[in-house]
């Protein structure tokens, strides 16, 4: 198992390297002149040329790519922002936690409500509880989150005054409305996924076995069925987390949360290449780690998957033994 984790962590190096090269190339070939944007419309041609020289844009592409990669991977330096001159690493360290908290709160709400909703639908298949949950899930996918965000602000922040309308000055409470607005899609998908996965499982023979043992219905569902139904739900959790990390831009903008989404969008608009590249590299790392966690979660839930992770090692040991013997 330890070896498996190590192998996966090592795999992250080529992945992050690939992402860096891809983003660097895309930014280089995307239209718009960074010097023009930084200096504004009134800049003279001489100023622009000097700025380009300063940013290193006059060098050939491959040399710039090589310089950037050696700067990032050998010296661990993401450089500084072209527009604000601030160190990019410190900027990311400022903002990444906010996006992480927002994503985690969103996930917690989505899965905390989505799983019970899905279970209720599955255990009351074709009855009114099922219809209510599924209509709710459909609404969740259909409602645009910017509209929901505005409605929630209107109701909870403006009318009732319970929660802050924007900013991050009130600790965790600041994240509740953004998370509620951002969670609907994930919640709905989670409820649907839980429902279908539970429906498969509660018809399985081992569930009948559990009932025949005299297990209480509540335990049949929550203890025997849910653990078996979790695998597709965990898969969803992983991809949802990845989506949330990079995709909370609308929510971050509406609620004025200075997170990663805001940072990267701003940088793209300013053609602030180093910030876009640094931010993307960090998101890639966060995403890879999150996928690794999902895979470890699989192993924790399902012993058969755990056996698979361990077996690659055993096969190797056997091969070595054969080679030696």
């Amino acid at each position: 198992m330890g070896k498996y984790i190590l192998k996966r962590l090592l795999w992250m190096i080529p992945i992050v390297l690939g992402v860096s090269i891809l983003v660097f190339t895309m930014m280089t070939f995307c239209p718009g002149d960074p010097a023009q944007i930084i200096l504004g419309a009134t800049a003279t041609e001489a100023d622009l040329a000097a700025k380009r020289e300063e940013l290193g844009l006059t060098q050939p592409f491959l040399i710039r790519l090589g310089n950037y990669l050696s700067q990032v991977f050998l010296r661990g330096d993401l450089g500084q922002s072209w527009s604000s001159k601030v160190n990019i690493m410190s900027q990311i360290m400022d903002r990444l936690p906010r996006t992480l908290i927002l994503s985690l709160v969103t996930l917690a709400i989505s899965f905390g409500l989505g799983i019970p909703l899905g279970i209720m639908a599955a255990t009351h298949q074709n009855r009114w509880q099922d219809s209510v949950s599924m209509v709710f899930a459909l609404l969740g996918v259909a409602i645009p989150n910017f509209w929901l965000a505005l409605m929630l602000i209107l109701f909870f922040a403006v009318n009732l005054g319970w929660l802050p309308a924007m900013g991050i000055d009130n600790g965790l409470a600041s994240y509740i409305l953004p998370a509620l607005s951002g969670c609907m899609g994930t919640l709905a998908t989670c409820a649907r996924q839980t429902r279908s996965s539970m429906l498969d499982v509660i018809r399985a023979d081992y569930i009948t076995t559990a009932r025949s043992k005299g297990v209480h219905e509540k335990d049949v569902i929550w203890k025997h069925a849910l653990k078996n139904a979790l695998i597709p739900i965990i898969t969803m959790l992983g991809s949802a987390f990845g989506r949330l990390l990079g995709g909370m831009i609308i929510i971050e903008t509406i609620f004025a949360i200075p997170g990663m989404g805001n940072l990267i969008i701003g940088a793209v608009n300013n053609r602030d290449y180093p910030v876009v590249q640094g931010g993307t590299i960090f998101l890639a790392i966060a995403f890879s780690i999150c996928m690794l966690l999902v895979d470890l979660l699989y192993a924790a839930v399902d012993p058969r998957i755990k056996a698979q992770y361990a077996s690659s090692k055993k096969v190797r040991v056997k091969k070595e033994a054969n080679a030696n013997g």
């Binding site: 023979d205 076995t209 009932r211 025949s212 043992k213 005299g214 653990k227 056996a307």
Partner: protein
């Protein structure tokens, strides 16, 4: 435990009717089945796939799928107490404790994400008497040893076991609380022939120890001959013939029973062809009027298709539901 009443059979099923709803159609799975089973004895329930055997067993435990299946009539009396009227809580105490079930397919009957030992210990823990000193985990290990699996394999998962071993675990779960009634649903069908005999012997030994009654569901006449005291032949949800093993094997009286025997190869005869029963079982959403076997029966006459064929019983208790019983018997004996 209640006092044993000699006159009342331990398990008595009376006119059980079970229906499934499927795509708006009613599937007549069990149509007025009556059975009796005494303590320590074995009743074989024999019939084709889809005849309603498993449905009967699940009805006794009330573990039919809650969507679509419905027990619409009859009684299931255990020691004179109607199980169908019990509240769910009391029923849960009976399941796994007083009555337990062995399932047909050991590959799917165990929870894949739970340790096998925990699956045995769970049933023990659920039915501990108040003040009992039994340790569920110890008992589970003991049960594993009893069914021939080393106790230290308590911590293994089902995927680490072979099919035969999984079935042993299923048996260990079923017998962990010393049930008085065991419902064995084709316990050997999914197993290798070499393992079948072992598993049957194992069930037999354990039953002898605990004086457990057994309802054995099977379509294997050889198994019936080996372990059963009484036999009920079921066709399309009705019992067509019912008697002691000797009565059924020596004097089969229903054309369907005789058809079943004809489909077994006989080592002593020089037979080239087996004699399968022509045709297919009837569609349970649309059962023929009268005797359900009549469309496949070579003896069938107008009389068979008129209405429900009554059960006739010989003085020694051999029941048969056929209009042409005498004719069949004479021809058979000739």
């Amino acid at each position: 435990m209640s006092e044993v009443n000699r006159n009342v059979p331990y398990l008595s099923i009376k006119d059980l009717v079970v229906e499934y709803m499927s795509d708006g159609q009613v599937v007549h799975a069990v149509n007025g089945v009556s059975l009796k089973l005494d303590r320590g004895t074995t009743l074989g329930l024999v019939g084709e796939t889809g005849a309603g055997k498993t449905t009967i067993a699940k009805s006794i435990l009330r573990i039919l799928p809650d969507v679509g299946a419905k027990i619409t009539g009859g009684k299931v009396e255990l020691d004179g107490k109607d199980l169908l009227q019990l509240p769910e809580r009391e029923m849960q105490q009976i399941r796994g404790n007083e009555i337990s079930m062995i399932f047909q397919d050991p590959m799917t009957a165990l929870n894949p994400v739970q340790r096998v030992g925990d699956q045995i210990a769970e049933v023990v823990a659920l039915h501990l008497e108040p003040g009992s000193k039994t340790n569920p985990m110890e008992r589970a290990k003991e049960m594993l040893e009893i069914v021939g699996i080393p106790g230290e394999r308590y911590y293994d998962y089902p995927h680490q076991f072979s099919g035969g071993m999984k079935q042993r675990v299923v048996i260990a779960i079923a017998l962990a609380c010393n049930p008085n009634l065991l419902l064995a649903d084709e316990p050997t069908t999914a197993l290798d022939v070499t393992i079948q005999a072992q598993v049957l012997d194992l069930i037999g030994d354990l039953r002898k120890q605990f004086n457990t009654a057994m309802l054995l569901i099977t379509h294997d006449m050889g198994v019936v001959a080996q372990v059963c005291d009484t036999v009920a032949i079921i066709y399309a949800g009705s019992i067509v013939e019912y008697g002691t093993k000797e009565q059924i094997f020596d004097h089969p009286s229903h054309p369907y029973t005789i058809g079943l025997f004809g489909a077994i190869p006989d080592m002593n005869e020089d037979e080239i062809w087996l004699h399968p029963i022509e045709g297919l079982p009837p569609d349970p959403t649309n059962l023929p009027k009268g005797c359900p076997f009549s469309p496949r029966c070579k003896y069938a006459t107008e009389e068979c298709r008129q209405g429900v064929v009554p059960v006739s019983e010989t003085p020694d208790g051999h029941q048969c539901r056929c209009c042409h019983m005498e004719e069949v018997r004479k021809e058979r004996e000739a």
